[in-house]
Amino acid sequence: MKPPYNAPSQPMRTYLDFEKPIAELEGQAEELRQKSHTLESEGQPIDVAEEIARLEGKAATLLSDTYQKLTPWQKTQVARHPARPHFSNYVDHLIEDFTPLAGDRNFANDQAILGGLGRFNGRSVVVIGHEKGSDTQSRVIHNFGMARPEGYRKAVRLMSLAERFDLPVITLVDTAGAYPGIGAEERGQAEAIARSTDVCLRLGVPIISIVIGEGGSGGALALAAANRVFMLEHSIYAVISPEGCASILWPGSDGAKTQDAATAMKITAQDLENLKIIDGIITEPIGGAHRDPDTIMADMGATIERALKELEGKSPEILRQERRAKFLAIGREGLG
């Protein structure tokens, strides 16, 4: 089902299975353009500008139509799109003087969660987030964004540092989930996640979280028990992956029920806004964040700035109380 991984730096665009008709139109336009170039260089120029514009216009309409009514499973695919901007891309665009800090001071430096100091719109901040990697090599280094306990313990360390120096915390969430492995269990994966959630909730400084891709269960939540939680328009946030849910609730269905599970679990940004779990949605460019990274970066920057402005100047006690009240209200209010 998943398309083959393609590094975003490669010129060839990665299309998802439901984007095939768009791929065909964009392919035809591209082919025509190539052909006209060839003919031009051979001294036989032809006027195809109109035809290219027609094809591209058609493709754009189709893209826009498709993305306006993505199913939850299609959104899952977009959220996992290999070319989707990741933590490092956002940090490059939004954070000046980024100074990565490494290690949990106990065991290792888990590269599935990155973090450090930096400057956001002039103010010092701590930034933490899952990094999935963008090509085969970096994906392996970052373990596809699936953290081990050391990743969460590094996050705890950085949040405590933020608290000590009164710096706001920005977290970017993008993980399929915490890594399920022997070593991770041995070193207390569950405790590390619980502790990180606990530290988020007790922070005396503002913390803002944005789900930029996949919000996979406890491994995502550990960085997202925040004063403000936002989701990108085509990101997902769920208690278990659609595949995992399908394999448990429809045993033996062998993947056939994944789409149903994605729909039933209510995992999209729109669902979560309706359920009063998140504070807002950041609209993505048509066709997804990866089609126009600059726009999504700017919009995300504006959202973070607004949220920080609302929270700055509040006392540690108020920040804690509001955060608590917000999470305690979930499910008690607004479910109808």
Partner: protein, 340 residues
């Protein structure tokens, strides 16, 4: 058809059903296969007499095993939205809930009670694995929070017996949100300066471990309990190799520093009482007779409960240093035996 197949079977079922006998007089131990008489099993608090395998206990059985004289008051739990996602897989979620409620006679997976634990008023929450795998949904989350609030209001220690496969998928993201919500509950108890003790029972996995079950002041595990974040099947599928013997069992977690102790169910009540006594700087450990407090080995089979307990009134943590029971120094030999 021949005479061989035409044999009329004696109507044994008819004869038996006329008598008023339970159909499950004997239980087969899952671990050693031994057939155990049901009364012996109840007396042993569902611990196999031949191999010590700890079978699951219902919340009511837990309360009876933990509180003095088996006496306690259940705390009313708040109602939550039913099936907010209108979830259905092969069955409707509401039907699954109905089945679970009929089977367990509980509204949801967690029950909360207050009672005396060796004289100290204690709030205890118990998760029932028999109710949809003990799964943590909105109702269970509210119950854990309610228990914490009750503990804070009464200035009582809070003990949680955890048992769950994880979060309740049928409640989607709302079940995941119980992780931060129950974490807040734990914070409230800790901020009030009250002990929060977790007893990890078989099995405790998934979101439950990634929240309140791993944030205790003290972690006690029952022998052999499966405890972990990812289930063994998921790990096997991910790493594509067999897991080592004893992986994610209570004893393994003890070796890896995740729990403080692995305690036999028959010693659990006394261990809890001792831990709480020490944390709150009290001593209701031995009763006024000065005789060592009996435990599971007591001959009446009432594991962990003795007649001398029943008369003790609960002591509030905010009460003066002399609790209702006359306090004597702990009996050393008894204390020692609890350490084994």
């Amino acid at each position: 058809m021949n005479w061989l197949t035409r044999v009329a079977r004696p109507k044994l079922k008819g004869i038996l059903s006329k008598r008023d006998t339970p159909d499950n007089l004997w239980h087969k131990c899952r671990s050693c296969g031994e057939m155990v008489f049901h009364r012996d099993l109840v007396a042993a608090r569902n611990v196999c007499p031949s191999c010590d395998y700890h079978m699951r206990l219902s919340p009511k059985e837990r309360f009876e095993a933990v509180f003095d004289g088996g006496e306690y008051d259940e705390i009313e739990l708040p109602d939550v939205a039913q099936d907010p996602l209108k979830f259905r897989d092969e069955k409707k979620y509401t039907d699954k809930l109905k089945t679970a409620r009929t089977k367990t006679e509980q509204k949801d997976a967690v029950l909360v009670a207050v009672g005396a634990l060796r004289g100290i008023e204690t709030v205890v929450s118990v998760q029932n694995f028999a109710f949809m795998g003990g799964s943590l949904g909105m109702a269970a989350g509210e119950a854990i929070i309610r228990g914490a609030e009750e503990a804070v209001a009464r200035k009582a220690p809070y003990v949680v017996f955890a048992a769950a496969g994880g979060a309740r998928m049928q409640e989607g993201i709302l079940s995941l949100m119980q992780l931060p919500r129950t974490t807040i509950a734990v914070e409230m108890v800790k901020e009030a300066g009250l002990p929060y003790v977790v007893v990890l029972t078989d099995p405790t996995t998934g979101g439950v471990t990634a929240s309140y079950a791993m944030l205790g002041d003290v972690h006690i595990a029952e022998p052999g309990a499966l405890i972990g974040f990812a289930g063994p099947r998921v790990i096997e599928q991910t790493i594509r190799e067999k897991l080592p013997e004893g992986f994610q069992r209570a004893e393994y977690l003890l070796d890896h520093g995740m729990v403080d102790m692995v305690v036999h169910r028959h010693d659990l009540r006394d261990t809890l009482a001792r831990v709480i006594n020490l944390l709150v700087k009290k001593n209701t450990w031995t009763v006024s007779t000065g005789a060592p407090v009996e435990n599971a080995a007591s001959e009446d089979g009432q594991a962990g409960i003795t007649a001398s307990d029943a008369g003790n009134l609960p002591a509030r943590l905010d009460a003066g240093s002399t609790g209702p029971a006359e306090i004597l120094p702990p009996n050393k030999s008894n204390t020692k035996s609890q350490m084994d």
